[in-house]
């Protein structure tokens, strides 16, 4: 009977091998895909009940996990919730946004960079804890931006972004209206759902981080890009070169008022004027003609070198691409030249344009996570990274000079700071809807020679205020720059 017993042994061996193979499939091969399944509440609850790392601005935590006495053990809480909500996002059961979402691996402690720390926790029989995320934000600049924007009224919609031109560090990122992430992090899921639905249905879109998620016509601030393209084309090479002007300009291939560009009463002589003067007076007629001269293709190339039509923000989710369309007809290019038609930019994008000029023509990749830290171990610092060279150093120098004049002598006067050379440009963009208030823009950087900060202010709507980029945006940009320069 021994032969069949041996056969049976082999049969049982195969059964056990099949079990081990299946166990390996379950515990290893399919492990992460099953952990990520949306219906897997085990992983979500574990993530929700663990001690997440803090989000820090300077030395101050703006989001941290507090121990509480309920089934989820830790409650996420946000100090200064309204000020930082667009950046931190919220951490709720099963969903999160902002830094809470994009840096989840670090905050939850799963990031491979935290491996050593996790191992030490494991060996020390301590519960695993997440790493902290240190942001690049400057608390004073953030506060100045928030207060300035909020001062425009209760229902203001707008955004402020400040970056450090030489590194790409985001120094301030404000978006209004905002929300209280504490109400979404609450363990009272009924109240949470109610709050969420209310925020979602609010027409003023409080859950949208306008700094990176809202693109609008940049208006006259886009003239900087047009001027850059014109200078790069080689047709002009100094701030005092004569560019075309005129009180009105009829776009090619058009007739009548719809194709007629004017300057809303600003002084732009028919026989031409200097580039400096054209920027000071924000002459639409000048920049329409410059854009048409440069052409659709070169305008697109220049815009894309500044970051249009691309994704560049890697440590915060949901950045929308700023848009510059391809293959425009001459009248469309003309309109695009002063930031209308289908040209759209986010506030971050316009801050990057200003930053590139301040940084001798080099666009740095913007980033908001400065350091990843865990308990007592070495911090991991983010290295600044060059994104592209948008313009030559000469062009950057010329544009800086032009933009300084625009602050000193022209429309951007409200951003003047005593004793500091400021470069800046206003923008007032038509929505393309008759009777609707325009968008106000303001971009600037300072000190002009060797800038520490570049700012973009965008005001989408400020009920009760007459929107003009310079008048409303200028003082906000000034306050943010002063906060950094002090």
């Amino acid at each position: 009977m021994n032969k069949p017993i041996r056969t049976v042994s082999i049969f049982f061996l195969l059964l056990f091998l099949a079990l081990m193979a299946t166990a390996t499939n379950n515990g290893f091969v399919q492990s992460s895909s099953r952990n990520d399944r949306p219906e897997n509440r085990r992983v979500k609850e574990a993530a929700y009940s663990s001690q997440r790392g803090a989000i820090l601005v300077g030395r101050t935590p703006i989001a941290e996990s507090d121990k509480v006495d309920d089934e989820y053990k830790y409650l996420r809480s946000y100090t200064s919730p309204f000020l930082y909500a667009p950046v931190t996002g919220y951490f709720s059961f099963g969903s999160s946004t902002g830094i809470e979402s994009s840096q989840n691996q670090v905050l939850s402690g799963d990031d491979p960079r935290l491996f050593i720390g996790s191992l030490i926790d494991l060996l020390g029989n301590k519960p695993p804890s997440g790493g902290s995320v240190q942001l690049t934000l400057d608390p004073d600049a953030q506060r100045a931006a928030f207060d300035g924007l909020a001062a425009l009224g209760d229902d203001v919609e707008g955004s402020v972004v400040a970056i450090e031109p030489s590194t790409g560090k985001i120094l301030a990122m404000v978006s209004l209206p905002t929300f209280d992430p504490n109400n979404l992090a609450t363990h009272d899921f009924g109240a949470r759902d109610e709050t969420y639905q209310r925020l979602l249905q609010d027409d003023s879109e409080p859950l949208v981080n306008r700094a990176i998620q809202k693109r609008l016509f940049p208006g006259s601030t886009f003239k900087i890009v047009t001027a850059a393209a014109a200078l790069e084309s080689g047709q002009y090479d100094g701030p005092d070169d004569i560019v075309p002007g005129g009180p009105t300009f009829q776009l090619p291939q058009t007739t009548g008022d719809s194709g007629l560009v004017d300057n809303e009463g600003r002084d732009c002589p028919t026989d031409g004027l200097t580039l400096r003067k054209a920027m000071e007076q924000s002459c639409n007629t000048t920049f329409a003609q410059l854009a048409i001269d440069v052409g659709s293709e070169e305008m697109l190339r220049q815009a894309e070198k500044f970051g249009f039509n691309s994704d560049y923000l890697e440590d915060l989710d949901g950045q929308v691409r700023s848009a510059f369309p391809a293959e425009l007809t001459p009248p469309e290019v003309g309109q695009a030249g002063f930031g209308q038609f289908e040209v759209q930019a986010t506030p971050l994008q316009m801050a990057m344009v200003a930053g590139a000029i301040a940084n001798d023509g080099v666009v740095m990749r913007p980033y908001i996570v400065d350091e990843v830290q865990q308990a007592d171990f070495d911090a991991q610092q983010t290295e600044p990274e060059e994104l592209s060279r948008a313009i030559s150093e000469d062009t950057a120098r010329t544009l800086t000079e032009v933009l300084v004049s625009t602050v000193d002598e022209g429309t951007a006067e409200p951003a003047q700071i005593d004793g500091v050379e400021v470069a800046g440009k206003t923008g007032t963009a038509q929505r393309g809807v008759a009777g609707a208030a325009p968008y106000g823009w303001f971009v600037s950087f300072a000190p002009a020679g060797d800038a520490d900060v570049a700012v973009a202010v965008m005001i989408e709507d400020a009920p009760g205020q007459e929107i003009a980029g310079g008048r409303l945006g200028g003082p906000i940009a000034k306050a943010v720059m002063e906060a950094i320069l002090q």
């Binding site: 049976v8 056990f16 081990m20 515990g27 219906e39």
Partner: protein, 458 residues
């Protein structure tokens, strides 16, 4: 003098110490992981486990000195680990299954010792072939008696006697192995030699099909009336394997496999509860908590547990194994997978593999056909049972309820398993024992005796 097996009792004692380290260490790790401190009753608990194991070891040393030295440590490790995991689940649920399980383990070890003491030669059991068979069938039918049978989770496999409930099927398993072994040893020649050859396969005679048909009907009966898929599969597979080993004819396997497939197809067509098991096996995530119902909730939670555990597991106390319903019984492997990881699961499977291998080795070296068949049958109980339940939990095959021997909570199964191990040790002791030496015969004297001259007086 030929080869003589060594007793190796010292090796058994050493391995038992390791097994105790698993049991007591597991208990301590549960305390540390869940409550942050070594449980205060660790001395009492460890002492009790040690006393049971040392007691078992001493009895084996005295009455079965040549028995296989690996079997006892392996089951001691499995039982100890099972207790630790059940204790961990108790801490989360506020239940006291571990305490009851320890009581049942004590009963199991007492019966283990009793079996070894009373049964000095396994061949005696061959006398009870038909008694054992009859008793097994009566036990299997007991749950169907009105007023005695209990339906728990849809299966009618329990009886209640006073405050206790018991699964008679667990005892029936052991009795069936004895009955099959006895019957097959007597009839193996008839079953093996008669028959005709079709396409290189020796098919059995029609009249010899009687017993296999009877066993098939009993299995189907269990499936239909008790709604117990697992046991039905186990009994039929057990019989088929023993029949094959007795007759050495693969034809039986083919006939049996065809009958099994026929029965399974029929059951799938006819019975809703079988269809549900197959559907949830094929599409578990559709039946998790969607519009199609929650029939696979337990299975999918178990799978999520394995996934969450990953390679090395979350560690005791850091997983959430109580999400899986019945984690302490049928789904204990999911709890092990979650907190001890794939590593723990493979370790447990290897322990079972060693258990089955030692049992089959005993069958190979056994000197009598009855012993060979019994050892094979007992090994098959463990192998098939583990395959059916762990395969079901890990979604290798459709889920059917069976207990994971020694690990999962359940008194009847634990006690029966300890008795099985006692029987295996007894067969192994007989097999490894040196052949008794025969008295040398004085040939001259014998010759003289046979040719004695008797003088006849005239």
């Amino acid at each position: 003098m030929g080869f003589v097996h060594r007793r190796r009792r010292g090796a058994e004692l050493f391995l038992l110490v390791l097994a105790l380290a698993v049991g007591v260490g597991g208990y301590a790790a549960v305390g540390l992981g869940v409550e942050g401190e070594v449980p205060p009753d660790i001395i009492g608990y460890g002492g009790w486990l040690a006393a049971l194991m040392v007691g078992a070891h001493v009895v084996v040393r005295l009455v079965a000195p040549y028995a296989d030295p690996v079997l006892l440590p392996v089951v001691a490790a499995l039982n100890g680990l099972g207790l630790a995991v059940i204790h961990r689940l108790d801490l989360a649920d506020g239940a006291s299954f571990a305490r009851q399980q320890l009581t049942w383990m004590t009963v199991g070890v007492i019966l283990f010792v009793g079996t070894l003491l009373i049964l000095r030669d396994h061949r005696i059991l061959a006398r009870f072939t038909y008694t054992a068979g009859l008793l097994a069938i009566v036990l299997l039918l007991l749950p169907l008696v009105p007023g005695l049978g209990l339906i728990i989770n849809g299966a009618r496999i329990w009886i209640s006697v006073g405050p206790f409930s018991f699964q008679p099927g667990e005892v029936a398993k052991v009795l069936l192995v004895i009955a099959f072994a006895g019957y097959l040893v007597q009839h193996r020649d008839a079953l093996a030699l008669a028959g005709r050859r079709v396409l290189f396969v020796d098919l059995p005679r029609g009249r010899d099909l009687g017993p296999i048909v009877a066993m098939w009907l009993i299995s189907l009966g269990i499936l239909v009336f008790q709604k117990d898929l697992g046991s039905s599969l186990l009994f039929f597979g057990l019989f088929l394997l023993m029949l094959y080993v007795a007759t050495e004819r693969p034809g039986w396997i083919i006939v049996g496999a065809l009958m099994f497939l026929g029965g399974a197809t029929m059951a799938y067509r006819l019975f809703g509860h079988v269809r549900v098991r197959v559907d949830t096996w094929l599409h578990p995530f559709e039946y998790y908590n969607g519009p199609a119902g929650e029939n696979s909730y337990q299975l999918v939670e178990g799978l999520f547990g394995f996934a969450y555990g990953g390679l090395i597991g979350r560690g005791f106390g850091d997983g959430d194994p109580t999400r899986v319903p019945y984690a302490e019984s049928d789904f204990i492997m999911a709890a092990i997978g979650e907190e001890l990881g794939l590593t723990g699961v493979i370790a447990v499977l290897l322990l079972y593999g060693v258990l089955v291998e030692r049992a089959l080795r005993t069958a190979l070296i056994s000197r009598d056909g009855f012993g060979k068949l019994m050892a094979t049958g007992l090994a098959a109980i463990f192998a098939l049972q583990i395959f059916v339940v762990v395969g079901g939990v890990t979604r290798l095959i459709p889920l059917t309820g069976l207990t994971t021997s020694f690990l999962s909570y359940g008194g009847s199964s634990l006690v029966a398993s300890w008795v099985i191990v006692a029987l295996l040790l007894r067969i192994s002791d007989q097999a490894r024992r040196p052949v008794p030496e025969l008295e040398p015969v004085d040939e001259d004297a014998a010759a003289a005796e046979s040719t004695q001259v008797i003088k006849v007086a005239r």
